[in-house]
Each structure stands twice: as structure tokens, then as C-alpha cells.
């Protein structure tokens, strides 16, 4: 595996001003992530995981500190540059899915490609269709987002994050709403992407999942309290195969 540094955070702080109070969501976070790592981020609710992920995804800007993406300080990039970066290099799975209402699963997944003029309509359909197959939603492609269960919506959100074949995948509670079997299916998918050299940052509440990643970072009150490498990454596929197949 290459050891090329892809993400570098230096003393990132993020304050929110609510009324006349300041909420310190992140209080000086620093780490580097190399290309091809599979990092899980854990921590109690409110510890700043989503805030951190938003910054990593170039959606939010830190109050102070430096963020280098691929060696380039994100601060120096213009709004449009960051948009294009999000569109081509980053796949983001939101904690609250954020699907377009009144829109089919397929159209939702196609959305990032709509903003990439290099991709033709046919390619777009095909890629979106394949992404939905990968998350096990082949039979729900033309269902509208409000006609799907929470777990199905979550999987559409994952498919949307993967459809542009991003270099970095940022997932916020991507398996939070899924049953064990589907969770493992998604985990297998992420491990496959990881095996193909993608960098994955996976926020989760579930401590068991750290076994399947290559590195685990724990946040508390906006600070890193532990950062451990996992030498023996477990295979999600093995677990999936051992799971009893549900029969109805």
C-alpha cells in the first residue's frame, strides 16, 4: 500500500455561535490520513464527528487551523473549486440522507453526475443503476424517496456517494438504520472499495465496526482521545457468509 498523505489536519477548531454562547464543536484536532486508509471515527453523540466530517468533505470551513487535501490548503480554494472537488473526488453520505423529495432513487443517485458535463446521459443512467445494484436496491430504482423505508433511503444515499467513483468516501452513520445483514453487506461494499485503493472515513456509533477498518479514531468533546491502527482487519464478507440467511 502507498503511504501518500491525502488528508492533513492541523489544529482544527470549529466554534458555533448560538445566541451569545459559543459552542466548541472541535477543539484542536490534528491528524493525517494516507491514501487507502479505512478510518472509523467514533465518539459519543455531540462529540463533533459530523462537524469534523463536514470539514473533511469541504462543506464547512474550520474557525481556525489548516486542512490540506492532497497537499493543497482547502482555505486557498475558491467556492467553485471546492464544488468541483466535492463533485469529482469526494463521496459524502449524510447522517440524515438528504435525498431529493418526489424524486426516484435512480434520479437521486444520478444527481452528482448531472453536474459533470463529461458524463453522457447514457453513462449516467448506467452508473447510477450499477450503484443501486451494489447497495441491493435493484428493485427500487423507480421508487420515489418518500416511498422507501429509512434503511432503503440510507442505501440510496450511499449509492449516490459512490456513483462518481470518488477517491475519498465520507460516511456519517452509513449503517445506522440498517439491520445486521444489510449493515454487513454495506460494510463488504466499503471493504471492497477500500481494497480498490479508496480512502474511507466512516463515522459510527457501533464499536464493533472498528474491527473491520484499518484505523480507529475516537473523539470526545471535540478532541481526539485515541487513535489506533488495526493491524488485523477482519473481513466483513466472512461474517456475512456466516450470518444465517433469513427466510420468510
Amino acid at each position: 500500500m502507498t503511504t501518500k498523505e491525502i488528508i492533513r489536519l492541523e489544529n482544527i477548531r470549529r466554534n458555533f455561535i448560538v445566541g451569545n454562547e459559543t459552542v466548541h464543536a472541535l477543539r484542536g484536532v490534528s491528524f493525517t490520513i494516507n491514501a487507502g486508509e479505512f478510518v472509523t471515527i467514533m465518539g459519543t453523540s455531540g462529540s463533533g464527528k459530523s462537524t469534523l466530517l463536514n470539514i473533511l468533505g469541504c462543506l464547512d470551513t474550520p474557525t481556525s487551523g489548516e486542512y490540506y487535501l492532497d497537499g493543497i490548503p482547502v482555505k486557498s480554494m475558491g467556492k467553485n473549486e471546492r464544488s468541483i472537488l466535492r463533485n469529482r473526488k469526494i463521496g459524502f453520505v449524510f447522517q440524515s440522507y438528504n435525498l431529493l423529495p418526489k424524486t426516484t432513487a435512480l434520479e437521486n443517485v444520478e444527481l452528482p453526475l448531472m453536474y459533470n458535463s463529461a458524463i453522457s446521459a447514457r453513462e449516467r443512467h448506467e452508473l447510477a443503476s450499477r450503484a443501486l445494484d451494489a447497495v441491493g436496491l435493484s428493485d427500487r430504482k423507480s421508487h420515489k424517496s418518500n416511498q422507501m423505508s429509512g434503511g432503503q433511503q440510507q442505501r440510496v444515499a450511499i449509492a449516490r456517494a459512490l456513483v462518481n467513483d470518488p477517491v475519498i468516501i465520507l460516511a456519517d452513520e452509513a449503517t445506522g438504520n440498517l439491520d445486521t445483514r444489510t449493515s454487513f453487506e454495506i460494510l463488504v461494499l466499503f471493504q471492497e472499495l477500500h481494497a480498490r485503493g479508496r480512502t474511507i472515513i466512516f463515522v459510527t456509533h457501533n464499536p464493533e465496526l472498528s474491527a473491520y477498518s484499518s484505523r480507529n479514531i475516537v473523539l470526545r468533546d471535540g478532541k481526539i482521545i485515541s487513535d489506533t491502527l488495526n493491524e488485523k482487519q477482519a473481513s466483513a464478507l466472512d461474517v456475512l457468509n456466516k450470518l444465517p440467511i433469513e427466510t420468510d
Binding site: N54, K79, F92, Y115
Partner: protein, 406 residues
Amino acid sequence: MNLTNLTKIALKALSNNKMRCFLTMLGIIIGVASVITMLAIGQGSKRSIRAQIAEMGSNMIMIHPGNMERGGVRQDASSMQTLKLNDYQDIAESTEYVAACSPSVNSSGQFIYGANNYPSTIYGVTEDYLEIRKISIEEGNMFSPQDVLTSAKVCLVGKTVIDNLFPNGENPIGKVIRFNKIPLKIMGTLTPKGYNSMGMDQDDMVLAPYTTVQKRVLAITYLQGIYCSALTEVLTPQAIDEISEILRKNHKIKEGEDDDFEIRSQEEMSSMMSSTTDMMTILLACIAGISLLVGGIGIMNIMYVSVTERTREIGLRMSIGARGIDILAQFLIEAVIISVTGGIIGVLLGVGSSIAVNLLFNWPVYIQAYSVILSFFVCTITGIFFGWYPARKAANLDPIEAIRYE
């Protein structure tokens, strides 16, 4: 930026809100339809007035005494006796651009035939008058130059006069009617022309040799007016110059002094009339334009609401890579689709209602290509103009704030 994709996105967004979309369009539809209808009515009346003027002889020139001051007192034009027979003769003989020329003396009074009588006007003219006024003879003959020389007691009668004097439908030709106790034998009838654009009955007239009216009716030697026609409408100014030169010479008017006559031409009249109708058209178009403006503000209002309502959607689009310009373009395209579709429907409706106005009220209408193109253009501009502000607002949203928006 990919326009096809953005258009697809915009269409999809619009189809999610069809009713609202239609209601927004309604403002534009009404605006465009009224612009087109108003311009069609304005143009229609202008054209019909022009056509009527042409029918009356668009190359006609009228000369009347006037503009003279004696001892500082302005004289009433009709009492002036400055136009003489030799003025007429000189114009008739020594001009290049005048095609036809007739003196004019007239008198109003009661015409009597048997037990019927009818008030009308007798016009004393020469046979050229028919050509000048574009009058034709329906039945019978025009009086001859010989009749003019001898002040013959003959006349030609318009339809209105005939209808009133011969209510039983007798053939008027050869009958003798009386005007001021003077018996006049009817030689012919005039082809009816109907009312002119000013509402005057053009068939309410009797024509007789000018000598007859001068000597037998009015007992005068001067002329009340001279009617001419220029060779063509465009040569009217040259003809007027010639006439003016002759009259100034005859009347011994020195250089720098005012004319003691007035020359008016139909060409002048027609341009005056069309400037009046033009003004009316502009006024109508302004009113219609205001409704288009109101329609545009409707678009702005709805787009504005729509941006606020769809803040989360905008945030999401931005977070997966839409740039500010993509969002701007999407909302502008939405606004333009609404306004252009509204424009198309408005054009159809405007053309339809113009035709309806024509059929129901019998008003002349004329739809010009330019009014259709103009409304279309204005629509698109309206869409862009009024869509711009809300679209900018959308494009300037911060993705993460927008996506959290409740």
C-alpha cells in the same frame, strides 16, 4: 456548465409544482395576450383609417383662403374673397405636378322634390372633381364642360339625398329637384362611399357646375376653395410648391410676407391621423406592458418563495458538487421556462382574442409580426430580469447552512 442537464433539472423541479407554475404563468399569459390584442386593435384602426383616406384620394390638395390680417384683424376664412377664378385657371394650366383641378363653391340648404325635402349641401365644381375625390358615377353622366360654361341647371346626386327625396325608389335620373327655388335636373347618381373615418356621410352631397352655384345660388364671383390632385401621393409637396408660387404671384405677396391662402393636403391629414392612432396604440401598449410587468413581478415573487422553500434542496445540490453558477442557471432557466411558455400561450391567446374582437365587435384588427416577436422578447427578458434576484439568492447560499435549513 451543462445546459441540457440544467434544463432537465429545472423542468423536473417545475413539474413538481404544476399548479403553482401555471398560476405564475397566468400573469405573463394575460400580459402578453393583452399586449398583442391592444397592438392589433391599434394597428387595425390605423390601417383602416389609412385605407379610408386613400379612398378619399391620398394625393388630394385643398386650397382655401386664409391667414390674412387686415388692419390687425384676423378675418374669418369663409368670408375672404381672395381666391379668384384666374387662380384656378393658372393652376389648371401652368403646373407640372397637378393632375386635376377643380374650383369649389358650396352652399347648404333644403332640396325639394315633390312633397319630400332634405337638407344637404350643393358643391359647385368641374368634372375634374370626380377624379380628385375618387368619386364615380353609378348611373347617368357627369355634366359636360359646356354645362359649366353655360351655368346649366343640372346636378349629380349622392345616395343619401336620393334616398330622402325619392323614398319610393323611383329612378331619379331626369327628375328635376329644387334648391333655393332653382330647378336642377338630375343627370346622374354617385356611387355610394359610406361614412368616412370621421363619421361623415360621404353620400350626403349634390354636385353641380361651379358656375351654376356661383351665379344662380350664391351670386358671387370669387371661389371658396380649389381642389387639386397631385400626380402621385409622393409628388404632393412639389405640387403644393407650384400652387403656392402661382398664388403668391397672383396675389402679389412679397417675399417675407405671409400667404393669404392655406394649402392642405390629404397626405398631411393622413400623417396627422396616423400620429393620433400611433399615440393611441402606444397608450394601449403601455397599459398592456404594465400588466406584463405585473406578471413579471409575479414570477419574481414565486421564484423567491420557491428559493426559500427549496433551501435544503439547494444545499444538497451544492454539497454534491453543484456550483453557484449551476444553481443560478437552474433557477433562471425555471424562470425563463415559465415566462416563455406563458409567452407562447399568451401569443396564441392574444391572436385568438384579436380575431374574436374582430368577429364580435367588427373592429378592424391587424396582428403584426413585430408585436409577436416583441412580446416574446420582452417575456424572456422579464423571466431573466425577475428570475435573477431570487436565483442569485439561491446561488449565494452556504451549502452546509442550507442543508440544515428547516
